[in-house]
Amino acid sequence: GDSTSSAATSAGGGTLTMGINATPDTLDPGATGLALTLLISFALFDPLVYWLPDGKGGSAFHPGLAESWTISPDASAYTFKLRKGVTFHDGTTFDAKAVKATYDHVVDPKTKSKSGLGALGPYKETKILDDYTVQIVFTAPNASFLHQQAAGNFGISSPAALAKYGPTAYGNNPVGTGPFTFQSYQAGSQLTLLKNPKYTWGPKALGEGPAKLDKLVFRIVTDDSGRYNALQSGQLQIAMNLPPNNISAAQKSGKFQQLLVPSIGTPLGMPINVTKPPTDDPLVRQAIMYAVDQDALVKDVLYDVYKPAHNVLTPITPGYSEAASKTYSYDPDKAGRLLDQAGWTVGDGGIRTKNGKKLSLEIILFSGGGLELPTQFVVSELQKAGFSANTAVQPFATAQASFNSGAHNLGSFGYYGADPYLLNIWVNSNAIQSGFNWSHYANPAVDKLIAKANATAADATRNGLYEQVGAKLMQDSMYLPLWDVAGAFTLSPKVQNLHQTLNGYLAFHSATVG
């Protein structure tokens, strides 16, 4: 069908412009390191299997380009039966070769894949069993794979396009099977997608048939007030991740809708360095956990927009342990008692001291991380408990270096991941010096538990193992959770029929703009 006829038949049409807050590093989901690209990838690509919220707080797998799948008991081989009659945007046909090409592309060193490589884990090879059957094989158990493949990194690419553009230039010329086709990208400015009129193979959960929109534009506006202003002036129909005060103002104005899409991963919070005094003392760390009132933070500083966090994972993440969330509650008195117990006594001006040394915390944030103001709240809470604090805001690269070197007592963190295996990245003892273990937390037992969980195919068992890990981490108070990250979308009322993804983002398959 050509575009005129489909425009006539489908309701809606028109252009939807959404303001996004960062610049995509590439449009190749296999190469990207940014979650934002994964949002875009859902418009351009289909994964083999979709994993979507069920609308009741849970989630479910839906057939994507694979009609069915089986997992080997040790979770090291995944077999997919592929859908027929699917064509790529460039007109070529989808089949098993495309799946193999896509996965091989991710592991190709020339691709310099970032999150894809991490998400793929111990990949060995993709076996083409027949034209429409593939098997993805791992060298080791990899239970997180089904979740990971659904998270966006592994949308299937056209082998012809991959060959045509080569592993790097493909990033500017993505060709998938998704509801929208790539039209143009102005670096740093905007990405324009057009509707794919042939699209009929989408999951029913996201709507049927081709997309309703004619055009989907992602406009990069890094400045928070810029996005809000543009939304108000009508230049944007959706503004992503506005600051809480604007979200709240937008809501109060009654002119805009609010969509909060909870995301999988860790809440936003502060890794507590377990090796640098005074936070090397568990009592001091526990005191911190008791001293900070996340509920008040959310109410006073975040305008009640987000949910307070009390755990190392967000609630919708598999392996989230409800019990672990109860480990600490706001209790300043208890914090004081713990500090007394640790030998820190109240001194001049309410600052505690021990052996003539002040109870002082080094706090390092990275600029633009959205933690500046909340941290000032945290600091005022800590001051009430007798801490003094010194806060430095550093550019991202610099802050990371500081975190790795352990110059901080409290840092800043917040991580999206499709599977609780992400814990491996930031609590594993091998990630201290040059990874993202900014708590400098080294616990071989936890390392082992995570490895074991990832080798377990059965969901329930696996989640149980992760719950143990979560509980242990909370007990060791190596992370001060603040609030649960969520994709926050402020929409003009004209925008309808959006679907949520599990990474805190949106799917535009059936979206309309009135």
Partner: protein, 310 residues
């Protein structure tokens, strides 16, 4: 003339080399590991980080890295962005026009506001008009452009819906950024032009033009205007570095994809090839703009042309 241009460009080579060298040393002073910046959020294991470091050439000795950069530069190759893996030249080229348009537009604002204001003020120093112009110029210098930008957006796009809050490629969306960025320079130009006009109005040639029966307007337009615009033009050249800084912030506020903001984010994320490339482009732009300024000044004031003529 052509020779002059060629020679001036030739003389700029050491400056550009110096700029890249300094920029190179400086970016390497920034602590942090670009590989980790890139892989943050990528569920990357330490091995993956190490591999990426090596792929990016970050394990080479510094001199080697600079030599590679310099050799590439000679071949017109600015390298690949760490973050996007696309050629730096491509990234810069796609952003440079936006910055160019913004700076040009804000300079236009500066000239259109500053020069006439300076002229009327300088014509009658001490008059009411002069006092008004001087206050405007004082205020213009004093209002930080980022503050002005915020106020303008609030008023003109959010409240009145007259102008766009963010760039949409139209000339209309250029108005607010250009005004907020150009305003301060308008103020500077007002002061410069005013001072110059006062001097010129006292000059002998104005006296003799009057003695020939020229009216004030004629004196202003035919005699004083050209002479008085010289400092305006040279200032624009000299202010280029500042304008770029201002542009960076203005670009962020107005959601413009430009060099300034790009440079800023690239520095903080230690995207070395981009910083280097941007610095080369900026250095060349600086040289070219100042060459242009010299040529314009030469066109305005023939006395400076002697040396330009070949």
């Amino acid at each position: 003339m052509l020779l002059f241009v060629v020679r001036r460009l030739g003389a700029a080579i050491p400056v550009v080399i110096g700029i890249t060298l300094i920029a190179f040393v400086l970016v390497h002073l920034v602590p942090g590991d670009p590989a980790k910046v890139i892989l943050y959020g990528a569920n990357a294991s330490p091995e993956q980080i190490a591999t990426l470091r090596q792929q990016l050439g970050l394990d080479d000795p510094l001199w080697r890295q600079y030599a590679d950069f310099a050799v590439n530069l000679v071949h017109g190759n600015l390298g690949t962005s760490f973050l996007t893996q696309t050629p730096v030249s491509h990234e810069l080229l796609s952003r440079a026009p936006s910055t160019l348009v913004l700076t040009a537009a804000s300079m236009l604002v500066a000239v259109l506001v500053g020069v006439p204001l300076g002229l009327v003020a300088g014509m009658r120093p001490g008059s009411v008009l002069d006092t008004v112009a001087r206050w405007i110029s004082f205020a213009g210098v004093a209002v930080p452009y980022f503050f002005l930008a915020l106020l303008l957006v609030l008023l003109f796009s959010v409240k009145l819906h007259l102008l766009s809050a963010i760039d949409d490629g139209t000339a209309k969306s250029l108005v607010l950024p250009a005004v907020s960025l150009g305003w301060g320079y308008a103020a500077i130009l007002t002061r410069l032009v005013r001072g110059r006009v006062i001097d010129e109005m006292r000059s002998d040639y104005v006296k003799s033009a009057r003695a020939r029966g020229s009216g004030e307007l004629r004196v202003l337009l035919r005699q004083v205007l050209r002479n008085s615009s010289v400092p305006a033009v040279t200032t624009i050249g000299l202010q280029f570095g500042n304008i770029l800084t201002g542009a960076a912030i203005t670009e962020v506020i107005f959601g413009r994809a430009g060099l300034g903001s790009f440079l800023a984010t690239s520095i903080t994320s230690k995207n070395i090839p981009v910083v280097q490339g941007a610095v080369v482009v900026i250095g060349i732009a600086y040289v070219v703009i100042n060459l242009g300024v010299d040529l314009i000044v030469g066109a305005i004031d023939p006395r400076t042309r002697q040396e330009a003529a070949a």
